[in-house]
Amino acid sequence: MRLLEYQSKKLLSGFGLIFTKPTVVESVQEAQAAVARIGLPAVLKAQVPFGGRGKAGAVKFAETVDAAVTAAKALLGVDLRGTKVNAISIEPKLDFDQALYVGIAWDTVEKSPIALLSLSGGVDVESSPADGLACRSFDPWVGLVPYQGRQMGAKIGLKGRTLVRVGDVLAKLSEAFIACDGVTMEINPMVVTANGELVGLDAHVEIEDDALYRQSEKLESLGELAPTVAGRPPTPLELEAQRIDAIDHRGVAGRVVEFDGALALLIGGGGASLTIFDAIQRHGGQPANYCEVGGNPTEEKVAALTALLLTKPGVKKMAVIMNVVNNTRADVIARGVIMGAEKAGKIPSEAISVFRVPGNWEREARDIMAAAGIEAHGREISLDEAARLAVERNLAHVA
């Protein structure tokens, strides 16, 4: 769960960290009033749940009220990577001597949280030179203590008051990271003001989705949370697949990603879906979709997903390929796809080009498919071979 900038600042302020105070507005009139109150020059930032806002043109500076109004008009209502900008924050523009980057993330090698401190605060932290960057993983039971933060500060050459303050900032951020189940928490830039204060201009907080059950109280006070944005916005077909997957909690028949091709895929489990999709492409096939099926979904879910994929314009055939199933029942998949094909108004033996689901209840699945005039396969053909057959039979149809 990625928080918006103003929410991130509010959450971290609760741990004693200092930020410029955002006024969040949703209209140009409110923006004008806010600028009049805050004073000039001002910074206007779109509140969208992803990084790289500076480069995306979502951050604007204004020296005059007119410029602020123009900037607010340019930002509000605009579509940024599929997300409509409903709110912008307005803050006074701050003068500063130095901009730092302060962050905490997970180190999958050490299997612990890791604190990061860099001299290159701003938009291109990733490419900061090694001597301007300090990293330190720390014990999740203890957190990062101030002296460890000061050691990091000393490593990148900080001195005096800034060094002492940076130790406190890192300790407080680590406290927040642990208390709130952080995935990533960044203050970037964190600027050193003329009187030596460390003030965060921007903050980015991502909370672990799997820990939301114990974070809801802290998050409730932050206002409406935006859905996480990853890549392009979902297509209507993907949204419908999400709806089908949510019909009930048993099993997965979803995680659909739409592609341009005409070969529909009902594939699973997780790793096998990746393997099968690769194999289809390697054999020259053009998939209509990616999906993941597993965890023993119900017949109804399988049928609904089958019908959805088979009614996509241009799709004539579907391949049903899964790894050796442990938990999922092959017979349930068999009944589901036949029901789904019929629901889509197709003849199952024509619509289903390959059925390869070995393992749990395989014999029953073979009988069900045979009754519908389809030869089912088990482990006698590999995932790769099944993918090759699917591509071949789809081409034969087109020809």
Partner: protein, 294 residues
């Protein structure tokens, strides 16, 4: 070698539906399950296995040194710590969706007591013909169809693909010494690099098949380890998700980019493993080529 057939196994969360089925299949396969624990349900029996309220009570009577954790995600940290205190030295965590913080915390405790952790989010591990831990392979007849004793180890980031790869090798007359679903999470107890260290000293293993996926740095880490210290084991890797490299941008935060250094793509992983002398099976069929020379 992991999973000594003599070692007693305790199942934490044994009265759950999935755990109960897992116990039935594991017993039928020869696993030495001596006790189960579900707080508040002590005194019950699951497929003949006595249930206790605490791991300490189970330990007093049965001295298990292996634990399988199948409890809801919010209870995993607690269950793991309870097992460590009672003397568990090998702990399989099957539960999915365990918060990273809890995994990280329990791994600190595991290191302190010298316990090897597999998972979270792992279907388990199996020594074909000897014993299995977890639901790996499914029902016992399915397990016997898929796995066969031999000299190839399988280490896999996907539980389902562990069985699929074993089944493929079995079909071609290549048996397995051990197969481990390492777990699908970003932070896991034993990654490829940790497990290679164990297999290096295992006289029953000649070759290893690695199954990798996009994301994380497990494959790159393994490659770095192999470059520093070449292995006696014949290594083959099969990686899935090539198409994910070409999908349009999922932008990660700065922190992830700094920590992972731009690693995580399948092409990058394959290149690193190749440079480290690992045979890359580009198709499933090539898996048997790679392992046959082992």
């Amino acid at each position: 070698m992991l999973l000594d057939p003599e070692a007693g196994i305790v199942v934490q969360g044994i009265t759950g539906r999935e755990a109960s089925r897992m116990v039935e299949d594991s017993l039928a396969y020869g696993s030495n399950i001596v006790a189960g624990v579900t707080p508040g349900k002590g005194g019950q029996c699951v497929h003949g296995v006595p249930v206790y309220d605490t791991v300490a009570a189970a330990a007093d009577l049965h001295q298990p040194t292996v634990s399988v954790i199948s409890v809801p995600a919010p209870a995993v940290l607690d269950a793991a710590l309870e097992g460590f205190e009672a003397g568990v030295k090998l702990c399989l965590i099957m539960t999915e969706r365990v918060p990273r913080l809890d995994t990280s915390k329990l791994l600190v405790a595991a290191r302190r007591v010298g316990c090897t952790v597999i998972g979270p989010n792992s279907l388990g591990l199996i020594r074909p013909g000897v014993a299995k831990l977890g639901t790996i392979g499914g029902r016992v007849d399915n397990v016997r169809h898929s796995f066969t004793p031999g000299r190839v180890a399988i280490l896999s980031r996907s539980g389902g693909m562990t069985t699929e790869i074993a089944s493929f090798l079995t079909h071609r007359g290549i048996g397995q010494s051990i197969a481990i679903g390492v777990g699908g999470d970003a932070i896991i107890g034993s990654d490829f690099t940790d497990l290679i260290e164990l297999l290096e000293d295992d006289p029953s293993t000649d070759a290893v098949v690695i199954y990798g996926e996009p994301g994380g740095t497990a494959e790159e880490q393994l490659a770095e380890r192999l470059k520093k210290k070449p292995s006696r084991l014949h290594m083959t890797a099969f990686l899935s998700g090539w198409f994910v490299d070409d999908l349009e941008g999922v932008r990660f935060g700065h922190a992830a980019v700094i920590v992972e250094g731009g690693r995580g793509s399948i092409r990058g992983k394959v290149e690193a493993l190749r440079e480290a002398g690992v045979f890359i099976a580009e198709t499933f069929e090539q898996l048997s080529e790679g392992t046959a020379c082992g």
